[in-house]
């Protein structure tokens, strides 16, 4: 019988046969264990999308608290909505999903000024960031819908976006057996137009950003909110910069519609297309500003490439449209003050939100 161990004095690196067997068995056992720990099993749920995280100074409650009664926010609904959000089969050509224009890396906005849909068709507006919309009052740049459920179907059927009637999108999903259990778990039946929109809305509700340095500052944690950020915040909330008129502290959007002088004339009518009022020409919805540094370019048409350009445009008082809101006026800001404002705007970035794997396909 060969010795188990190499004899002392042997310089050979060759293992004895018995040791080789033991070693091989150990390696095999280790490999099996690793494989078992990384292979998803039917019993391992994905990380929860529905949490109690709430942005600072949002008093209405959690995303689940503010969800509508007829579409209560559940994990099953949110997970289903996430899968749909990234499913290109919801577009006529199979090229485009919601996630194509609402990119997680960019706070679910579009880094292109104007979004591109199927067959490279383009619209007229920049896809806005999807951040904290659970608390929103209206949606789209012109605020033409009041619920996320309504909003969810519009891009799907828009000819320059996904160009597919929502009924057909629902039929495609209903014909996909891999969706059947998810829809049954979430909405107690097969996919319908209504449940498809509701699921998408549920996922969007879970896109909650509440851990930026600004949020922490509002909660009393000043570790990442320094002097420049504080000076910037003071300016932001002062009559000198007057940002608060539309972007109040905490919520950072008053959910209103204003013409901030983005164009002079001949541009997108904006809110006027909804109300029909002459005075609403060029008014667009005030977006929330959390993660604004990640959601360039800016304005409804993506015409401002950087935050610096945004600050400069406001400092000029807009571009001179006669319909510019009277609260928009030239500002007297020093270069240092502009830098402080920018520091404050950058403090609204929630690094966890931007890389959160829960929000990725």
């Amino acid at each position: 019988m060969p010795p188990l161990w190499p004899s002392r004095g042997s310089l050979s690196l060759t293992l004895s046969p018995w040791l080789s067997v033991v070693f091989a068995l150990a390696l095999f056992a280790l490999a099996c264990d690793q494989a078992a720990s990384t292979r998803p099993t039917a019993a391992t749920p994905p990380p929860a999308l529905v949490t109690d995280l709430t942005p600072a100074h949002f008093a209405a409650g959690t995303a689940a608290d503010v969800a509508p009664v007829d579409n209560a926010l559940t994990e099953a609904r949110a997970q289903l909505g996430k899968r749909l959000f990234f499913d290109k089969n919801l577009s006529r050509t199979g090229e485009v999903s919601c996630g194509t224009c609402h990119a997680p890396d960019h706070a679910f906005s579009d880094p292109s000024p104007i979004s591109t849909g199927v067959e490279e068709r383009t619209g007229t507006r920049n896809a806005p960031a999807l951040v904290n919309l659970a608390w929103g009052d209206s949606f789209f740049w012109d605020g033409r819908v009041r619920t996320l459920e309504e909003q969810a179907g519009k891009p799907i059927e828009n000819p320059v976006e996904m160009d597919l009637p929502v009924t057909e999108a629902a039929a495609r999903v209903a014909a996909d057996p891999t969706y059947a259990k998810s829809f049954d778990d979430a909405y107690f039946g097969p996919a319908t137009e209504e449940s498809l929109r509701k699921a998408l809305a549920s996922f969007v509700r879970t896109l909650v950003s509440g851990d930026s340095p600004y949020d922490r500052h509002l909660r009393g944690d000043e570790e990442e909110f320094g002097d420049a950020e504080r000076r910037g915040e003071d300016l932001f909330l002062s009559e000198k910069a007057a940002c608060f008129h539309c972007h109040p502290a905490g919520r950072l959007t008053d959910e209103g519609f204003f013409n901030n002088g983005t164009y002079v004339d001949g541009g997108d009518p904006g809110r006027q297309t909804v109300t029909g009022r002459t005075g609403d020409l060029g008014k667009f919805k005030v977006p929330g500003l959390r993660n604004v540094a990640a959601s360039a370019p800016y304005m409804h048409d993506g015409s401002l490439a950087t935050l610096e350009e945004v600050v400069d445009q406001y400092a000029r008082g807009g571009r001179g449209s006669p319909w510019t809101d009277p609260q928009i006026r030239p500002l007297t800001l020093s270069d240092d003050e502009k830098l402080d404002l920018l520091a404050f705007l950058r403090s609204l970035t929630d690094p966890v939100f931007l890389v959160d794997p829960r929000f990725r396909p």
Binding site: A59, R230, E239, K240, G256, D280, W323, D325, Q327
Partner: protein, 334 residues
């Protein structure tokens, strides 16, 4: 109570621009303590507020009106800002006050160009204000506090009516009144001190941060009246621009104080007969001509400090607030 960096002038705190732990303080309006002209249908000394009846700080706002007494219930309610205030009375008659905005004798159409007498147009873009602490006056001068109510007759949140030009549903204020004959309706044009001290980020409509009425800091109170308009010059027959509409401002922001009740007390005179089981509708017009007159009034602003960077709209608002007692801003329509 002033903030950490108070500068006191005549016992009044300066408006501070700190984002945290800051308050804005405005001095009491001058002339606000005068009893109102019995025939006036505009600003006048009205019921006192702030829990002190007609005395003390409140007296500097309203000072009482011809001996009008204030109901203790109103005083205690004014000392708190309760989202669901208990009703003053379980039943009553809903009196509707549709509110119209008028200029040059004509009702303005919100969001549309309205022709100006001197040429050009005015397009109202923003018209928001709070009304609170409503009461009806009897012929003998007694004041009957009434709840500001919803269409269903329940007290409005915080007991406030919020007029928003953008929201047609808000264009009518309703009160729940006992049957009787009345000679006027009174209210505050703005908020009580208690409500003005609220944190908009923690409150609900119409005091939430989407009201578009918040001042620039978390504990800074609210605007009481906000007006914004696009004003276009007219053209002469020869096509040349007419004279600028110098007398018409495009922006007025009228606010209050974080330490005193300074909301103008308004009295609108006119007969109101409230019959049990009946309904009453009485139009109230907000006369912008008077608003603009007030905003341009030459009142003493020596103790008023405009916040750094603040525009003319704040000064105009303060002039307006201090001159309401001599103006007929709110009148009954025909």
């Amino acid at each position: 109570m002033c903030n950490k960096r108070p500068t006191v002038l005549r016992g009044v705190c300066l408006f501070s621009m700190l984002a945290t732990a800051s308050i804005g303080c405005m001095p009491a309006p001058e002339g606000g303590s005068a009893a109102g002209d019995a025939g006036a249908s505009g600003g006048a000394g009205g019921p006192g507020t702030g829990g002190a009846g007609t005395g003390g700080i409140a007296g500097s706002v309203g000072g009482g009106l011809g001996g009008a007494a204030i109901d203790a219930g109103v005083s205690s309610a004014a000392s708190a800002c309760v989202e669901s205030p208990p009703p003053l009375r379980p039943t009553g008659v809903i009196v509707e006050f549709p509110i119209e905005i008028a200029l040059g004798g004509k009702t303005l159409v919100f969001g549309e160009p309205n022709a100006l007498a001197a040429g050009g147009t005015l397009t109202p873009q923003d018209m928001r204000f709070y009304l609170s602490q409503a009461a009806l006056l009897r012929g003998d001068g007694t004041s009957v506090p009434v709840d500001i109510v919803t269409q269903a007759g329940t007290p409005e949140p915080y007991g406030i009516h919020f007029f928003n030009g953008d929201d047609v549903a808000s264009h009518t204020m309703r009160v729940l009144a006992p049957a009787g004959n009345y000679t006027a309706v009174t209210f505050l044009w703005g908020l009580t001190l208690a409500c003005n001290q609220g944190d908009a980020s923690q409150l609900h409509a119409p005091l939430s941060d989407t009201s578009q009425m918040t001042w620039p800091h978390l504990f800074g109170g609210y605007l009481f009246f906000k007006y914004g308009a696009s004003i276009m010059q007219g053209l002469s027959d020869a096509g040349a621009p007419s004279a600028p509409q110098a007398a018409i401002p495009s922006l007025i922001h009228m606010g209050g104080s974080l330490t005193m009740n300074v909301a103008p007390a308004i009295q609108v005179n006119g007969m109101l007969t409230v019959l049990a089981g009946g309904s009453v509708v009485k139009i109230i017009r907000v006369v912008l001509d008077e608003v603009f007159k007030g905003a341009a009034m030459n009142v003493d602003l020596m103790d008023f400090v405009v916040p750094p960077g603040g525009g003319d709209e704040i000064t105009l608002g303060e002039r307006l607030r201090r001159s309401t007692s001599g103006l007929k801003i709110f009148v009954f329509g025909s």
